[in-house]
Amino acid sequence: MSRDVHFCDSTLRDGSHPKRHQFTIDDVRRVAGALDRAGVPWIEVSHGDGLGGSSFNYGFSLVDEYELMAAALEEMSQAQLAVLLLPGIGTKDELKKAWDTGARLVRVATHCTEADISPQHLTLARELGYVTVGFLMMAHMNTPEGLVEQARIMSDAGAQVVYCTDSAGAMTPSQVAARVSALRAALPPDVAIGFHAHHNLSLGVANSLVAIEHGATWIDGSTCGLGAGAGNTPTEIFVAVCDKVGIKTGMDALALMDAAEDVVRPIMDHVPLVNRDALLLGYAGVYSSFLLHADRAAKRFGVSSKDVLLEAGRRQAVGGQEDLLIDIASELADADRV
């Protein structure tokens, strides 16, 4: 099929955050089946924090992620399975197990300045036969030049695609343009550029279009926007807009609208929206998955989730530091008592 952009729907991975990692086999079957029928080429399934993410720190999965992957695969006829791996959380063992389960694309994710913890995993992924993707998270925290340097580490290690990942949903269109075009200009032509958005500033779709204009050919989204923070680029909206502007995605906009309305919305605990806390993530540049953890920690200690998130931003917290939120909330509570 001829496409202008490759698309990865992350409802069953990034959407695991707002679901507090409580997806059931039935949820996964229905979503994967609907996305497959709508022509989505890549469907990502794993714990929200990637392979091996089930933990006290990020939340335990209700159902083992490999069982969820296997269930999704049974519903997929044309789509292929993608997974996420954060070195430091998941290991090469999980990478092999996911391959054996049937995953065929892996995003190896690091903070945007720490790409040198990914080469072992990228190299193994290529050897196994995965479509191998480097995922530079919190990309707003590095300059375009800095990001290029990190992307080179990933492409040298075997990444076929390198993503500019706006994990905090904090990037403005001009920042996206600067980073994506710098990556496109610097990386070899056979390495593709991707963009992953969060909708915290309501810019998910707009920023994805800007990324495409500047050379990105891989885009992520989540159906109904079911992802961390205010969610990701909503898949059905992105595809509808692509149809209107003549970007070929190979996906069926109407079928995706049905999938969003009839399949995903009914399983959502809440509809991701740009409320105060979600907006703060984008405004202060805070990792989107912190949203519910900050809320929980704030309630536990009787402090404001807004203050917890702002303090996490001030401390330049990076993805994975969910434990810091408990620490911050407890400190804020102590400060209140004094």
Partner: protein, 298 residues
């Protein structure tokens, strides 16, 4: 008592920090710093401090075994694998600070006396040194089916060795939580944070608890073992009271979360590099025990 002569192999930042700590020891006499690069600033610093400083590597140590009865290996996993048989053949005991992990792992407050006659012992990982004592503290009071730690270190203090073997780092730490900490199962997560100024090493230790746990006893045990670690790692401190949560749907476990910060003592390493300081401090603490055992054996 007579001090046991020892040497440091690997004159980098870790080796230089060891030098500072060893010069204060009443059980060990640091006699030499050994590397492979004659231009190494670490060897120059050792020379200034009045030590023998050699760039002839492991062979110098073997040739001077009388003044190197205990050797701290602060090189790399690859170099250690090559040196280990030579040290063993020469009857030199080795504290392995590299990720090679060939000997048994030791955490001073847990199993200090268990491997006094081992050819070599390793120090697990920095995260292991920081968190295993807390898991051990909890398992002294109640069974812990599962322990999980999150170690966050400043990017600047994570060297290429850790970065290139991050899986081994998490795996070794997780294994230590179970084997030495006493948890049924362990999981370790490591996060690198590039913030400027660099952050001080933070560790969060989660232990699963049964519903009927005596929280006060757990808290007291945590305080006690934190103080014990503090006796050889002055920058080790609990950031807050342990946080207890009642059993939830998550595996039916209650849990305690312990927040530990490790600042460097500032011997040579910067304050934020508590992750490195706790390794050198633990190595010296263990070596002093090996030295006392040698002294007794004489």
């Amino acid at each position: 008592m007579t001090k046991i002569p020892c040497a440091v192999l690997g004159p980098g930042n870790i080796g230089t920090d060891l030098m500072a700590k060893l010069q204060r020891s009443d059980a060990l006499e640091l006699t030499a710093m050994v590397g492979i690069d004659p231009e190494s600033p670490g060897l120059a610093r050792a020379r200034e401090a009045g030590l023998d400083a050699s760039a002839e590597g492991i062979d110098w140590i073997v040739a001077h075994r009388d003044q190197c009865q205990i050797v701290f290996d602060a090189t790399s996993a690859g170099a250690h694998k090559a040196s280990a048989p030579k040290l063993q053949a020469a009857g030199i005991q080795c504290l392995d600070l590299t990720p090679a992990k060939m000997g048994p792992g030791v955490v001073p407050v847990v199993n200090l006396h268990q491997h006094l006659d081992a050819t070599e012992v390793n120090l697990i990982t920095c995260a292991g040194q920081a968190t295993i004592p807390m898991v051990y503290a909890v398992t002294q009071v109640t069974p812990v089916a599962y322990a999980e730690i999150v170690a966050t270190v400043a990017s600047k203090s994570a060297g290429p060795g850790t970065r290139q073997s991050i899986d081994e780092f998490t795996r070794t730490t997780a294994k230590g939580l179970a084997e030495l900490g006493g948890a049924g199962k362990g999981k370790a997560i490591i996060v690198l944070n590039p913030a400027e100024p660099p952050i001080i090493m933070r560790n969060t230790v989660y232990c699963a608890l049964p519903a009927d746990v005596d929280e006060a006893a757990v808290a007291a045990s945590i305080e006690k073992y934190a103080a014990e670690v503090q006796s050889y790692v002055p920058g080790y401190r609990l950031r807050a009271e342990p946080v207890f949560d009642a059993p939830s749907t998550e595996g039916g476990w209650g849990r305690v979360a312990v927040f530990v910060e490790v600042a460097s003592a500032g011997d040579f390493l910067p304050e934020y590099a508590g992750n490195l300081d706790i390794m050198t401090a633990a190595a010296v603490r263990v070596a002093e025990e090996l030295a006392r055992a040698k002294e007794v054996a004489r």
